[in-house]
């Protein structure tokens, strides 16, 4: 239960093509994360899978069955919206039980399932409250509860944590990962957040302008980005790109080196630079440097690295961590 495959799926709004035609295979039980810049069509793709938008072309198969024209409710998918979309006039109990009530399940059975979901999500004490009387995290959990009770073939999440504060976000991230471990249900998750994508995903799909740039495991994308876009998009702080003579020395139009793959030294190294802003986080130090003959770069030293604005330091890239890109932006193996 829960494999989804998209075949040449495309979406056109009026005369703007949002998704030009895309193939994607999502295996049963996988946690797939869609990432990409704002407006690249992540939400649209998710809504196409959910059935909230009609495809302009192509085929969506769920569990090997053509689901392209099936109504949203019949696809067996559950969606958690960014705004949670709880029903404000219903208690938490009614909210979670709503899909079951619509499925004409009998009352005792609904109660049993709702209470089961509530205990998984720590909502038992809040069942009689209205959504307006809950905190953001609790509302989020109600929205997830409403999805769980349906026993869906797959969960769809559209930026579910973006309305929460940083600490709660970390919590909910763990809870959702935990839930995935427990249920082993396919999950498709849209996010802007690097950390969410890297930590939760079995498979990341990087989108740009409705096209898939690369699909792979988080570490795959980190170590072997297929092109400059993916290289720049995955990883934080962003990869440094160097063009010109320095790139030519490596037989490439551009080379990329991640901030964490630059060794810093006060005495010797390949390149010499001036420290601009130094961000001391305690566990790490991010340095924004101006490197002679190359330009602006970011470097990351683990632990404390005692420099301040205007200091001159040396840095050398780790040779095996240099990514080379051709003139077309694709990676050179």
């Amino acid at each position: 239960m829960g494999s989804i495959s998209l075949k040449q799926v495309s979406k056109v709004f009026g005369d703007t093509t949002v998704i030009p035609g895309l193939d994607l295979q999502i295996e049963e039980g996988e946690f797939v994360v869609f990432v990409g810049p704002s407006g690249c069509g992540k939400s649209t793709l998710l809504r196409l899978i959910a059935g909230l938008e009609d495809v302009s072309g192509g085929v969506i198969e769920i569990d090997g069955r053509d689901a392209t024209t099936i109504a949203p409710a019949k696809r067996g998918l559950a969606m958690v919206f960014q705004s949670y979309a709880l029903y404000p006039h219903m208690s938490v109990r009614k909210n979670i039980g709503f899909p079951l009530k619509m499925a004409k399940m009998d009352k005792a059975e609904i109660d049993r399932k709702v209470e089961g979901a509530a205990s998984v999500l720590n909502l038992t004490d809040y069942l009689e409250r209205r959504p307006g009387q809950l905190s953001g995290g609790q509302r989020q959990r109600v929205a997830i509860g409403r999805a769980i009770v349906r026993d869906p073939a797959a969960f769809l999440f559209d930026e579910p944590l973006s309305n929460l504060d940083a600490a709660l976000r970390v919590n909910m991230r763990l809870e959702i990962s935990e839930l995935h471990q427990q249920l082993q249900t396919t999950m498709i998750y849209v996010t802007h957040d690097q950390v969410e994508a890297m930590t939760m995903a079995d498979k990341i799909v990087v989108l740009q302008a409705g096209r898939i740039e690369q699909v792979g495991s988080p570490l795959d994308l980190y170590h072997k980005p297929r092109n400059r876009f993916v290289a720049g998009f995955i990883g934080s702080p962003k990869m440094n790109f160097i063009e010109g003579a320095e790139a030519a020395r490596h037989d490439a139009a551009a080379i990329g080196i991640r901030p964490e793959h630059l060794s810093l030294s006060k005495t010797e190294g390949d390149w010499k630079g001036t420290v601009g802003v130094a961000e001391h986080l305690g566990s790490d130090t991010f340095l924004h440097l101006n490197v002679d003959d190359i330009g602006a770069m970011t470097a990351r030293a683990s632990g404390e690295f005692d420099v301040s604005h205007g200091d001159r330091i040396f840095l050398s890239p780790r040779a095996d961590k240099i990514h080379r890109f051709g003139a077309d932006g694709n990676a050179i193996p």
């Binding site: 409710a73 979309a85 006039h89 899909p99």
Partner: protein, 290 residues
């Protein structure tokens, strides 16, 4: 300290308005109450004298009073039913995207801008007239007897006219309420398996409940005092068939020149309106709480 000062200042600044409003309300009210205890007939000036509760006794035991009260409730209830149901239906229709939406919306609102006397006259002479009215023509075209609306079922005809005037108001309020429904909620319910009907019952209607409450409360206030439509069309007749309390007060005090009786009727109307208001707030007021 600073809040205390601004509060005092605010009270000072507001007091002229409050005094004005209070005077505006208190003076006519107390004069009405005073008159209601007098034997005061304009045909016999100078003979005013204290009458105690006589005016009230006459007004409340008058058979016309009970039929007027029934008519008032029928009028209010009938118009509310038509406008709320019609308003929801029209709101749902107008909420759909269609060609010429802007123009149609303005047209729907138009009746609200027509004066009650004018619209009542138009209905009386152009639509309901048994000889020249459009309805009569339509009936004749279909080979049926024309129906003399205002003579045969006067109260129902007035309900129709008033409902026609108030339909735009409820449509407008309910339409804006419909438009404020979060589309993600609709989509969520769609994914939860709610068809159009259960979506309407479980999502849309509860969302509208507050707007419906506002429509009912505001309309009730105005509908309790419908007057022009009755004066222009039926004059409260035949008999007392279309007389409501407001019209009865008018008939008492101005047609019979009995200021004392009319004032008593006015006070009774005020008390009745308050009873209706209390009932309404009890029944649906909780919808307005956040």
């Amino acid at each position: 300290m600073s809040t205390r000062q601004t509060r005092t200042a605010a009270r000072l600044m507001m007091s002229p308005a409050v005094v004005l409003l209070l005077g505006w309300m208190i003076i006519p009210l107390s004069m009405t109450i005073y008159f209601s205890f007098l034997r005061y007939n304009l045909l016999m000036p100078g003979t005013e004298e204290w009458a105690g509760l006589m005016n009230y006794r006459f007004f409340l035991t008058d058979p016309a009073f009970f039929s007027a009260m029934g008519n008032t409730l029928l009028l209010v209830g009938g118009v509310l039913t038509i406008t709320v149901l019609g308003g929801i239906a029209l709101g749902l229709l107008l909420d759909q995207p269609f060609f010429g939406q802007g123009i149609v919306r303005i047209l729907v609102i138009a009746p609200f801008f027509v004066m009650p006397t004018v619209s009542a006259l138009v209905w009386k002479n152009m639509f309901m007239n048994p000889v020249n009215g459009l309805f009569a023509h339509a009936a004749k075209f279909l080979g049926m007897q024309p129906y003399d609306f205002l003579a045969v079922s006067p109260l129902f005809s007035i309900i129709l006219i008033v409902a026609w005037q108030w339909l735009p108001f409820s449509t407008l309020i309910l339409l804006t309420a419909l438009q404020s429904l979060d589309s993600e909620q609709k989509e969520a319910s769609e994914m939860d398996g709610a068809g159009p009907v259960s979506q309407f019952i479980h999502i849309v209607l509860p969302h509208l409940s507050r707007a419906i409450t506002v429509v009912i409360l505001i309309q009730t206030i105005f509908l309790l005092s419908v007057f022009a439509e009755i004066l222009v069309t039926t004059n409260g007749g035949p008999g007392y068939a279309s007389t409501n309390i407001t019209y009865l007060v008018y008939a008492q005090s101005l047609l019979q020149f009995d200021v004392g009786g009319g004032s008593a009727g006015g006070i009774v109307a005020v008390i009745l309106a308050n009873i209706v208001a209390i009932f309404l707030m009890r029944m649906i007021g909780k919808n307005l709480e956040v």
